[in-house]
Amino acid sequence: MLAAMTWLPWVIGIGAIVLVVLYVISIYNGLVHRQTEAENAWSQIDVQLKRRHDLIPNLVETVKGYAAHEKETLERVIQARNAAVNARGVAQLAEAENALTAALRQLMVVVEAYPDLKANENFRALQEELTSTENRISFARQHYNDVVAQYNIALRRFPSNIIASMFRFPAYDFFQLDAQELAQVRQAPKVQF
């Protein structure tokens, strides 16, 4: 009877090891899942920026037909767009995209002076696409930041921090707004009724 019990500690020991290994695997997989989410969210920003680049030549052509002597503003939009398309690296890209955002805002202000253009169906469709694209870009950034926040919390929280440092999971940076946008966001929210 007693001899039969000698394997019991082994079973308990091996069982405990198996449980620990399974636990580590589940934490590891959770980290991989969140890291993949962050990478997907990052590529979503790229997709939306590309969408904006593709939209601009069409927009410029349409505006040109009605407001040809706003050449300077149109030039600036095209230049900013080309700079953004050719930008390499996160810092350069962020700068070029911010310049493009500013140039497009300027264009939309200028357009206000041309009622015929604003009534043009093609232009209105493009304007809707542009509004949507701007929203998509900021929502994609927002989602990226949300996902990265979740991932970075997991990197720091016990016990996943042990697994994370063991397998060298890198921390990700948030997508920062540029100084001008930040100033706008920090203003008190406008309440309209």
């Binding site: 989410e37 969210a41 979503q44 939306q48 469709a125 809707e128 696409e129 509004t131 949507s132 929203n135 998509r136 929502f139 994609a140 927002q142 989602h143 949300d146 996902v147 979740q150 929210p189 309440v191 309209q192």
Partner: protein, 326 residues
């Protein structure tokens, strides 16, 4: 409530509740259908029921289990199409309404889910709903009345509310509730009508009945028992659904809409417009009312605090959103 409830916790809770609902439905319908078929068999062929045969009961129970399993499967995998169909929702393409499509795609990006297909309900009443079993298999539907009366920002707020339901898996639980509880209600209705009909027919054959003896009597007892349970249950549909769908869900989806769009004015503007609207949405009913953006049965929308309400009062939703402005 714990301090940190993420939407992942909400998803887990909704999955769990959905699983319990399916299990409860299967158990209930299996027992009810077995009881019914036993009773009907006993009435139709009293001689076969002269003695109790457990194998016969087992076969009937297995058949009933298969049927309820099939209904549950259909509810989970085809329930969205069914609910869209009974709500009169028609799929639209991007060319039909580019702005609506853009808004849906934008907010889906903010929520990190694939953009759901968009459906239009050709009705002047103002309402919307989302359905599906998970974010990969979901749809949003909006009435023409609501679509036409909202600004772009307000539309974004409403769509964000619906996408919040999709991301949190509220849609799965609400779809299963509508289809499964609805199925029980319909079965109960059909059965009760049958019973009334059979009651008329039986008076002619009372003499034969007396001859048939114990089997017939057992059948009558079983059928009457099941009938009483179903008759009690059928009118409670709205209340059962309301018990399962906490009204907190709507407040939460409103708050999530603001979180996704970073703009409380959109959904606030939409709710203010809806507060002044009194038109009924005819395609909605007791079984599907809980899915909608605001209660489609307008006489309930006003007295939102009553026990029969599936939605919180619109005024209270507006008040809570206004607190976010300060």
């Amino acid at each position: 409530m714990s301090a940190l409830v993420t939407f992942r916790d909400l998803i887990a809770a909704n999955r769990r509740k959905s699983a319990w609902l399916v299990a409860g439905f299967c158990l209930f319908t299996t027992v009810a259908l077995t009881g019914l078929s036993l009773g009907i068999l006993a009435l139709a062929a009293p001689d076969a029921f002269a003695y109790w045969d457990w194998r016969q009961t087992l076969v009937l129970a297995l058949g009933a289990a298969a049927i309820s399993g099939l209904i549950a499967w259909l509810a989970l995998y085809r329930g969205d199409k069914f609910l869209l169909f009974v709500s009169g929702a028609q799929p639209i393409r991007k060319e039909d309404d580019p702005q609506l499509y853009n808004v849906v795609e934008e907010v889906a990006i903010a929520a990190g889910i694939p953009p759901p297909p968009v459906y239009l309900i050709d009705d002047t009443a103002m309402n919307a709903f989302a359905t599906g079993r998970d974010p990969q298999h979901a749809a949003v539907a909006i009435t023409r009345g609501l679509r036409e009366k909202l600004t772009r920002d307000e539309l974004q707020g409403v769509i964000a509310h619906e996408i919040a339901h999709i991301r949190n898996y509220d849609i799965r639980l609400m779809m299963l509730l509508a289809v499964l509880i609805g199925t029980i209600a319909v079965l109960a209705d059909v059965f009760l009508h049958m019973l009334r009909f059979a009651g008329h027919g039986r008076s002619h054959s009372r003499r034969e009945q007396r001859k048939s003896g114990a089997g017939g009597n057992a059948g009558v007892v079983i059928v009457i028992l099941v009938a009483i349970i179903l008759a009690l249950l059928a009118p409670l549909v709205a209340q059962i659904i309301q018990l399962a769908v906490s009204r907190q869900r709507e407040y939460l989806a409103d708050a999530t809409a603001v979180e996704l769009t970073r703009n409380p004015h959109g959904i606030l503007g939409a709710l203010r417009k809806l507060a002044g609207d009194t038109e009924e949405l005819e395609v909605a009913n007791r079984g599907t009312a809980h899915m909608y953006f605001v209660n489609p049965i307008r006489k309930y929308a006003a007295r939102g605090n009553s026990i029969f309400a599936s939605h919180p009062p619109i005024e209270e939703r507006i008040r809570r959103l206004e607190q976010l402005l300060v």
